[in-house]
């Protein structure tokens, strides 16, 4: 459960309805009672439902039934049903649909990655990066958590993460033990994570025994090689794979010995196809 401030769900509505739905007004149907139903065309792991409820409630519409964030639905299943005036329902339609399509797109994609991973590694994890689409942090967080994923790092103050872009400012930017030691000393409560861009860097990093090494854009073979050496060189060090990890490439890495994957692919997943139907309460 991710808390969504009122101002955020209000802002999502206002992106679409600053002047009401003109078509409803011109047709003179705004005062009729009706209901709206959101269906998931493809099915999959859903999210954005709590957000949708909050938005519809703000419009004075009553949500009468829904599934919960994180549940799996089948193709065509109803996600949410709500009733109220046609004026309110038409104003909620597209803004809520956008939230559901994007959220379910993310959670559905990530859930499919996790399904694949956990067939091989029941304790494997997929962590999503901070390479988020600007302005979507809370929405992304709820979608990732609904699907059972992890947030890799919510910002640059959460863990220590040493990049080449840091090392370039150091006199001893190749002295991994010195760097890890300095980081441990100055950040005793943080995970010390380093990124390695090549197998050689990974080996050097392993010898410095940080808490975690991210292997960026490694081939499966390169990854497997490092994974084989790690238990000896740095038994307490976690290995993670990052860079180019998607639903399509994940299978190639399932046997490399690393079970923690870091990715931003779900944020850019195709949106789910959410069908929306508005109907009068009593059919004409």
């Amino acid at each position: 459960m991710i808390f969504l401030p009122q101002a955020l769900t209000d802002a999502w509505l206002l992106e679409d309805i600053q002047g009401g739905d003109l078509t409803t007004q011109a047709l003179g149907i705004g005062g009729q009672p009706g209901h709206i139903t959101f269906f998931h065309r493809q099915g999959g792991c859903v999210s954005g439902i709590a957000a949708a409820r909050q938005m519809l409630t703000s419009l004075g519409v009553s949500v009468t039934a829904s599934v919960n964030d994180g549940e799996r639905v089948v193709a065509g299943q109803t996600l949410l049903c709500a009733s109220g005036s046609v004026a309110a329902l038409h104003q909620g339609w597209k803004a809520v649909q956008n939230v559901l399509e994007w959220s379910c797109g993310v959670s559905g994609y990530l859930a499919r990655m996790l399904d694949l991973l956990r067939q091989h590694h029941p304790d494997g994890h997929i962590a999503c990066t901070r390479k988020m689409i600007p302005g979507t942090k809370l929405l992304a967080t709820q979608a990732v958590q609904a699907a059972g994923g992890l947030i890799h790092r919510a910002g640059c103050s959460e863990t220590i993460l040493l990049f080449a872009n840091h090392r370039r400012f150091l006199a001893n930017g190749d002295d991994w033990p010195a760097m890890v030691s300095q980081l441990r000393c100055h950040a005793p409560e943080r995970k010390i994570v380093v990124e390695a861009d090549t197998p050689d860097e990974a080996l050097a990093a392993l010898r410095a025994a940080p808490d975690c090494i991210q292997l960026d854009k490694f081939t499966p073979e390169q990854a497997a090689n490092i994974a084989r050496l790690a238990p000896t060189l740095a038994p307490a060090c976690t290995l993670a794979l990052t860079g180019g990890i998607t639903l399509a490439t994940l299978p190639d890495y399932l046997d490399c010995g690393i079970t923690l994957f870091v990715t931003s692919a779900p944020y850019y997943a195709p949106p789910a196809d959410i069908k929306v139907r508005l109907e009068p309460d009593s059919p004409r």
Copy 2:
């Protein structure tokens, strides 16, 4: 040029840097002078540059060179270069990169669609829908406009757009002339646009002569058929194709006689690959 309020670009920064960059702090390099360079790995039509400038400026960093929104860059070309303290540069890195990657992803994709279209139809247009990722409206708008695209409809009060979800509330939901006439009467300053979900609906709609008909998920053949009849039935009516229009499907529609395409595909384009390099002002 799309105006971005300070609070928006500040919010994009705060998504990533509420506590500063801990790694910079632990390494003690924050006070050094340095510069940051953003490169476009693939090349294409760029956007988000003005946003990036505004963000970097808010961090006290000086932007020393950049291309402009809407320009085309080649693979590997520099988008933006800025100099300042390492503490500030590292705080700007990822948040700015996220803005550029998403923006350039959208503008690059849309520009490729437009290139394709205009080879056949120099006056053709691609309009992007309000099916935006929640919270990205202004960012999406600048990317679409940078690429030369149109915003189809910024919200549900901008034009009259009659959907089946409206018609279901009308006693005469099949009487297109009556509906169009009522809409014209009650909204004399707005375009009267209707959506047709089938060729039969499109024909019925054409006979009512609205200002525009959106053909939703029509095959190229269905579209061509309607396009052939339109000049006779409703000479002043604009036809638009919507539903499933992407870079991949667009070629199939280039000969159907319709030159206005409505799509949300660019919003979900893969992000551009923006490489970021931080370096000390004087090499070590």
Copy 3:
């Protein structure tokens, strides 16, 4: 129905009550139960009621009865009644009264204009401009729509509207057909509206057949003249009168043949006189 985000109605309250009502506190009466009633002294078409309900609810006060936005009330009629603690009621008093006075001022004025117009032209329309008092856009929109008016143009991206301030930047700023043609070509989904400042401009514009011509500050005779020529020159072109259209000047234009009036006068209407009475639940 116009959606009002919580932050907006909260801001209206905070303009008045950042420190509570000191007089209530000094009298020690804040904990007593009481009720508040808002009356419309003059009567007329009302608006701001939904906003008032939302504000009172945020203060923990129960609204027990109210009329609806858009209804007509007679002089002295009750708009809204609510009950709660004296501390809360006194904090709601003035901020809610301000919303009602301004809103009902706008809707009342506009409704009187529409009453006048529709006696002559049942299908006539009055559209309110974007010349709004800064910070009042949503409040103004709900008042205009409650009264049955139209929003002329919610911002400068909603329609194409060619002003002399644009034409001055064109080499061919007098070539109306070329300008209209270029605008149509580059904005196929938008109404092409042009403003004419003189009868000569209006004639030139008519020959270019845009979707709409706004005649700015025309006398009734000038307007009638153009209206007589328009059906021949540009049968599909809508004419609108703008500039100086008020409740006082409208009668002069009722016979000129144009039935669409564009005005900002309602925004500057005198506020309605809303009387507010607070009373203890049990009389002393």
Copy 4:
């Protein structure tokens, strides 16, 4: 000088320009250099100038000349001149014009009231109430202060102000000395102001010697009568007239012996007529 937060002036811009100026875009003139000039058609005491500067600056436009808030201009005088790209200038046009028209309307009206008053009473004052148009508090405050007016009371915690709506909750709501005494005791740092709705109430109030009595909707004769008695009954008590004080009614009260007037009329003054002209830097 009233501080205007960036978010406020940004919000005023966004009310008008969320999608840029489409007409400029369709004409392809956005990149040209140009300048914009704001003229005051009628002349009078001006305000909103600092706000306008801040808005134009946020758009990247350079303000090259302006008068200052509070100055008097003659009919046709330039208020502000700025130069920049046509795209930016057209986005600033209407939003800035709205700020100037409303602000100068308020300050101009109030200045005319003050001119009238001070011909008779050089030390007379006009104080503007908190009956402000919702959402305009800071804008109103700068306009009032620019014209030399006072803010009567910025909210209900600034002074003690006893209304009948308070007295109705008291067992001794007619015992003015007891009420004033209680208020003085519980609010030793605040002005004790009471409102009298009738001459009898005013007399009773005077005998209780509060710091100030507001006479609400008194005739000039009633006001003169109280003013004659006050120096004897309560020599330190300030008298103020409120209710229906406008530029039109003020002359009737100039001889009644009271020189402090409380009014909300300036907030509802007609907007000033600000002419805006955009031109290319080099004439075509």
Copy 5:
């Protein structure tokens, strides 16, 4: 009762819970029902309760019992009890605790000061300054009012308060009667308050008879001396003591003849010790 806008209480939550409570998630206990209880370890005058209710309600948690702002509780007494899902309860824990600890710290401290004062002077008052911790104005205001204190001055436009920092800009900065007279003339509706930094200044100020004199950092003897002279020199002038007034120093001033104390000490009081216990609804 101080109105707290939704955005403020939402912001307090977001300071702690942008990503949910990870520990709850990792333990898989988020969906269990449970309850949370907040106890006041030391006891005293409480505040922040209404704020806490609003925050818990926003999280979807039901508040089942609570005391009211301004009440006195004994050591160990329950302030608030609420029930809901463990995920929601754990997200509310610390943010709500922070609000209660700080609020109760302020109100408890101030109430102890008032208890002490009113044993000697039943009509004495303690007013809290605008030297507030940045960002805490509304929270501080509710705590001060709950304890029975006054807000001295909510900002620099509420009263006239003449400091040496003003006088230094005047040609006649030592001519107190002239200064007071000018201030009275230009601010007829405001209290005229002056600050005296020395006994000599206080005497000079008394002779000018402002509405109030603040004696800044006076010793008890200095204060008593001024208090003795005031009734003769300026019988209607209120005296207040400011600068260094705390729970520790207050006793020294109880006999000096001044009963109005101005202080910011409560804002910096130690936080109350609020114990928080979360438990399953059915014990394991």
Copy 6:
């Protein structure tokens, strides 16, 4: 360097100056040029300087000299000097002073704690908790980092931190190895921190070898005892002391063998005494 969004520093100003400085206005001195100087009366490690610069700049005031966040100043030293109009300077005075007093209070207190600690343990650390005063998170963060302190945990999603309030919901809430193992499994990228409330709990926790154990309210002897056993039981586990750690109690713990202290005491430090002097540019 902590990024402070414009809206935050604007909000700090608005807490004090919504109507300008009335005293300045009534004295008619607002237009004079002058300067303002902020002095640190006691001296110590400073912070809030960057915030103060940003606030003064927003008021149109020029900062002419300042020290930097994190520097040490001696008693009486100037922190900041700025020049501008008296109207602007008086509006900046108190709001900026409040930021500096609170910030310097926090950083000064924390720096004194660190000085004490590092005389004994050059690599010791003090980490400040998320028990922040509501609404002060960014301000607190910059003060803590300026003084050289750490942020313990910016929110409940940053690390895993197991409290008794979590354990109470588990069937096996006493089985520390099982709990730590589950947490490690489900949060592979996070530090696993547990809190022990008694020595027995600490021992049980040590045997489970989490990444860190917080000893809450342990006596120095209890702490020393655990510290002696830890290297054997869990060599990689970090120990931290929390609960009641202040400048006064820290000396008692300097020999216990633990060098990481977690505290919220600095947030509640007495504010620094910042003297502010405004003067005309040319003396009178």
